[in-house]
Subunit: 303 residues, 2 copies
């Protein structure tokens, strides 16, 4: 099944895809509520038989999960350009995006001059069903409710602004005050990864049974119809199962949590790179498509 | 008033302090619900008159806000040790902690050998009442529901592990592919700042009217009774109003959001530093006290 969340005059509602461009209304306000209900599949089957239908014109999209406990994003997780990495991760490197950054399909990505450059990052996203801690790699895919699309928008000038060179305080038993200073770099992602509208998500969540292999999906990104990225989830360095397992050793996963698997960035045959598509300067519309899941499209609005 | 959230046999409940070590039960499951209800103050006054009382022994604490939309943390925001900063922030530098990291007063901070060193960071925290975007500095304190205490636990070895040296892709119109590489450092905080139990919060939220000046509060941190930090919120570099205003230009603030204002780190007269208190090695109990708000104490459990 493919599930989503839409805005209706009477309030938000979860929906299930019932045909091309058509959906049936589910008795839940959003997928946050669906994933918490063990009976959701029977309710969805009932909706497909007898539920109210919405045509494609009536589908005003919200992020499928509205207020996940966390949006965990894996960085530097693509093996397509290892030459860029001078010292890189040997375990999944992760940051979080706040739920206030989420944006529905079709809604405008808002950019402002003070953000500097803003580029898209097309990614496979996982929605967690059953939560857990210390999940084994072999059990990890059993915790996946479904797969969706995230555009992990990034503002590199804000990243640069929020990266600092400082002397970290380390304990040192030989020092009279017990400390020594170690030169370090640190960067803080709340603004450059978490600004409002920097997390377009959806429109559909394909339930886990629809995606037998999450590492065999073509993923493309286009800007105003021009192909920027043509990649495949086979190029992800750490797999969905490995990321779930590793993350859950540190951060308990909860139903509805979203995990963004890292940027698909293999350049299209015409060259270029997602980092080269500056939405602040260019405006236009960004589309991210993942085989078997759908297409997430958002226009850019310069404010 | 001072408000909190406790665990009861019949489920979680918000409470209001009704005397030394005593609280009255409010008709809300937590402060997440209180901040959303315009009528909370009348309900609290009614509870103080007629509500069920809990003695201090009955107060099993939960984080006052259970599932904030975001926990926004300001880094490097103390003017007490500018010598450490080689290139530092000229605007508030921020990261987010997931709500799964929150921990109630009295509950164990869990550390593991694989975390490496873990140190406390005693901080003033703000709970947002009315949300908003682009909030003016002069209006900002009107968005504060109350003030509480957060211990922003940090694992510097994980920070080092998740810091990378790489070549960022920048647009370059003069290049044949339109890009050039710029040597950069980046660090990802999900593990080192966001692991389970890395966010003790509470026990009490002092409502904004109780704290006329949030920048005149003594803040102390003790480890097993030894004073590690004796600082004052006067040393915060960016004020509560400045941080709320700046953050809201990028990330819409929502009711119940928590903002951690940055580490109080002025060393006590006996020297030392919070970074020198390695809870993984030392265990023990960490207490953070803020004048007018209370004391947040958590034992350390090594697993």
């Amino acid at each position: 099944m493919k599930l989503g969340t839409v805005e209706r005059p009477e309030g938000p509602a979860a929906v299930v895809q019932s045909g091309a461009g058509e959906a049936a209304v589910l008795p839940y306000p959003n997928l946050d509520a669906v994933v918490l209900d063990g009976g959701w599949r029977a309710a969805a089957e009932e909706a497909l038989r007898t539920g109210e239908r919405l045509s494609s014109e009536e589908l005003t999209w919200l992020p499928p999960v509205r207020r996940p406990g966390k949006i965990l994003c894996v960085a530097l997780n693509n093996s397509a350009n290892p030459d860029r990495i001078m010292s890189g991760p040997d375990t999944p490197a992760m940051f979080t995006k706040p739920s206030s950054a989420l944006l529905g399909h079709g809604r405008p990505i808002v950019v402002k001059d003070k953000y500097g450059r803003v580029h898209p990052e097309p990614e496979l996203a996982v929605v967690i069903g059953a939560g857990g801690a210390d999940i084994a790699v072999d059990d990890a895919l059993g915790h996946v409710f479904g797969y969706t699309i995230i555009n992990d928008l990034t503002a590199p000038a804000m990243r640069q602004h929020d990266t600092f060179h400082y002397r970290a305080v380390h304990p040192d038993p030989d020092d009279v005050n017990g400390v020594r200073y170690v030169e370090s770099w640190v960067s803080y992602p709340a603004r450059y990864k978490g600004a409002d509208t920097f997390g377009p998500l959806g429109p559909w969540v394909a339930t886990a049974d629809e995606i037998p292999d999450p590492h065999a999906l073509r993923i493309t990104c286009t800007h105003d119809g021009r192909v920027v990225t043509d990649d495949n989830t086979a190029n992800l360095r750490f797999s969905v199962a490995e990321v779930i397992s590793f993350a859950s050793e540190y951060l308990t996963l909860e139903p509805g949590d979203v995990i963004a698997m890292g940027t698909a960035l293999k350049a299209s045959a015409k060259g270029g790179a997602v980092q080269n598509v500056d939405l602040t300067a260019l405006g236009g519309t960004i589309e991210v498509g993942i085989e078997g899941i759908g297409v997430l499209a958002n226009p850019v609005e310069h404010r």
